[in-house]
């Protein structure tokens, strides 16, 4: 589904990613772990097309398409979804108007007609239940006045509405209490189709216990330095990253 080759990227002239290689097949979940500042969020921002980042070398193909040639919204409408680490508040723009614009943009990209107001509201109600999102929240401005947990839940709600085929969960577990984490993780599992792939960025084992990644990567200083099975996450939880750094000579 997603293939990243020798990806180099920088922001403000500073190189953050220094040659990433990553291949994710249909239906696979890849965990990306790593120290603070290693480039995990940069990787997700570059995949979705954040305008502040510059790709200096390498390629990303998504279902055979050259992702780097596509605009942010084209990538989104091709099925790529980022659950933000810190979702943005947009005062004055209601969740309903925002979601309607997004859902209809995605439908237009797939050649489907826009939903009627009735159909749209029905869809909102259905999907809200999956992540147990309060109806009051969807009548407010986007993320405005949401608690940290509500913001994360809202991200998964949007994922439910847009039905992406490739998801990036960027520290979706940060700031969540144990119950909220379970609701969000179970929501994701419920929404996931067999062919849905994902990159899960996290510092902790707990989220991975729910999501069962196929592969765990360790990203340090802009490179993937170690790749192994899910048991690697448990080891990192216990021992930290220093032993890996020593192993690869960093």
């Amino acid at each position: 589904m997603l293939e990243i080759n020798n990806l180099h990227a920088s922001i403000g002239g500073k190189e953050i990613l220094k040659g990433i290689n990553l291949t994710i097949a249909d239906g696979e979940i890849h965990a990306v772990m790593g120290t603070n500042g290693a480039g995990k969020s940069t990787l997700s921002n570059v995949i979705v097309g954040h305008p502040a980042y510059e790709v200096t070398e390498g390629s990303i193909t998504f279902n055979g398409q050259d992702l780097l040639a596509m605009s942010t919204e084209q990538r989104a409408n091709a099925g790529i979804f980022l659950s933000f680490q810190a979702p943005t508040e947009i005062p004055g723009v209601s969740m309903t108007n925002f979601m309607r614009a997004a859902v209809n943009a995605r439908r237009a990209a797939m050649g489907a007609e826009a939903l009627s107001a009735g159909e749209f509201l029905k869809l909102m109600r259905e999907k809200r239940k999956i992540v147990e999102l309060d109806a009051k929240l969807t009548s407010r401005s986007v993320n405005e006045g949401f608690s940290g947990g509500e913001k994360k839940r809202n991200e998964i709600f949007q994922m439910a509405m847009l039905e992406p085929t490739f998801c990036i969960l960027d520290e979706t577990d940060s700031g969540l209490d144990v119950d909220a984490l379970r609701i969000v993780a179970e929501g994701f599992n419920k929404l996931r189709k067999p062919e849905t792939s994902a990159i899960v960025i996290t510092h902790y084992q707990r989220l991975l216990d729910y999501l069962h990644p196929n592969v765990v990567h360790v990203l340090i200083d802009g490179r993937i330095v170690k790749t192994a099975g899910p048991e690697l996450a448990a080891e990192i939880e216990k021992k930290g990253f220093d032993w890996i750094k020593e192993e690869v000579g960093l």
Binding site: V48, G49, H50, P51, S71, T72, E73, A76, N77, F81, L82, F84, P87, T88, E89, I90, P91, G92, V93, N97, F98, A101, A102, A105, R106, A109, S141, V142, Q158, L162
Partner: protein, 393 residues
């Protein structure tokens, strides 16, 4: 005195015609206004209240003035030209040439069931200067909703110089809305003067949806205690449009409340200006006053001048003012685009979110809903397509 010359000469030549074609009680003010205008001339940009708009330049082209016969037996309005600042050159110019006075008079305790709508449609085959005069009188305890709409039906150069005088008797309630939806060739000068008695509420909303060059002046005198006045404004401008709102709220007595909220969305090379002066006179204790001007410049070439002013001569008052000029929130744009919303649509949503706060304050719900639709259409560019205009093509 170049720009003034044509108006002075026109008055001298056409004086007889004008006097014969309009009511005597209006004619009674003309010669005095002529003397004021001839002596003062157009205010320059050095005058504090005219810093942001070049009046002489706007009035320099030769527009025609229509002095055709109007009903000379219109009932005399004793308040005519007593509320406006007759020493102001633009008011004087209007008084010289206004041929009739549109009057809304709501009697004591009356409350018309429906809003009163005044629609001014500019239409003609030649450039024209319009000297519109409006007088609104609410007697004691009267209530009214009044909507004044400026439209332009012909693709022609129009210059409007209007004077609106408003008298609110004790205990009256006025909701007044002004909506401009003209085109790039229109220049509008509006000079509004309100005199507010005791225990009144006045809610005024000014919307500039589409225009060319606009300068709106609004002066409010609070003359009776326990009154509240709200002046709100909403401006959407792009291309080379120019919108200047200039307000003065004069707290002459104690226990009054005034609030102002003006919001501008400026795109392309539009220029906006807001200057609002709040004057709290000696003895006007327990005044509360709040003035907010928030502006969104969507491009680097759009320009906003903002000048809130508080002038306080009483020691037990609560007054505040604030103004902001900001750009598009890039994080919000990225967030929306990541959800598949096009950049154009995302910008539109942000602009609309910013400006609709003003509309949501409108008390008249039917008008509010209509205006939300108009604002949406305007932001999408659907109102801005004027026929044959190179910038719209």
């Amino acid at each position: 005195m170049m720009s003034e010359k044509q108006y002075i000469e026109f008055y001298q030549e056409e004086r007889g015609e004008i006097f014969a074609h309009s009511p005597q009680w209006m004619n009674a003010h003309r010669d005095e206004a002529f003397r004021t205008f001839s002596a003062a001339g157009f205010p320059s940009r050095k005058a504090e209240r005219y810093r942001y708009t070049d009046v002489a330049k706007d009035f320099a082209p030769n527009y025609g003035i229509n002095t055709a016969q109007r009903p000379t037996d219109a009932p005399e309005q004793t308040l005519y030209n007593t509320i406006a600042d007759s020493s102001d050159a633009l008011v004087a110019l209007n008084t010289m040439f206004a041929m009739e006075c549109q009057t809304v008079h709501v009697g004591r305790g009356e409350h018309p069931q429906h809003p009163i709508q005044i629609v001014n449609t500019l239409r003609g085959e030649h450039p024209e200067m319009v000297c519109r005069r409006i007088l609104i009188v609410l007697e004691e305890n009267a209530e009214a909703d009044i909507i004044i709409i400026d439209r332009a039906a012909s693709k022609q150069r129009f210059l409007t110089n209007q004077v609106v005088e408003v008298q609110c008797g004790d205990g009256s309630h006025l909701n007044l809305y002004e909506i401009e939806e003209t085109h790039l060739l229109c220049t509008r000068y509006s000079n509004m003067f309100m005199r507010v008695g005791a225990n009144c509420s006045v809610h005024h909303t000014s919307l500039t949806l589409f225009n060319g060059h606009t300068r709106n002046r609004c002066d409010v005198q609070l003359k009776g205690e326990h009154s509240e006045v709200v002046l709100n404004g909403c401006v959407i401008a792009d291309k080379m449009q120019h919108v200047d709102n200039n307000t003065v709220i004069d707290h002459q007595v104690a226990h009054c409340d005034s609030r102002q909220l003006y919001k501008y969305v400026l795109d392309d090379s539009a220029v906006g200006a807001f200057a609002g002066r709040i004057l709290v006179r000696p003895g006007a204790q327990h005044t509360t006053s709040q003035e907010t001007n928030a502006n969104l410049c969507a491009t680097r070439t759009a320009r906003m001048y903002t000048q809130p002013m508080l002038e306080i001569y009483a020691d037990d008052v609560k007054c505040s003012h604030g103004s902001t000029v900001g750009q598009m929130n890039e994080d919000a744009l990225f967030y929306m685009r990541q959800r598949g919303i096009s950049e154009r649509e995302a910008r539109l949503l942000l602009k609309s979110a910013f400006i609709t706060e003003v509309i949501e304050h409108i008390p008249l719900s039917s008008l509010r809903d209509r205006l939300l639709i108009l604002v949406d259409r305007r932001l999408k560019g659907e109102l801005s397509k004027c026929e044959g205009c190179k910038m719209c093509e």
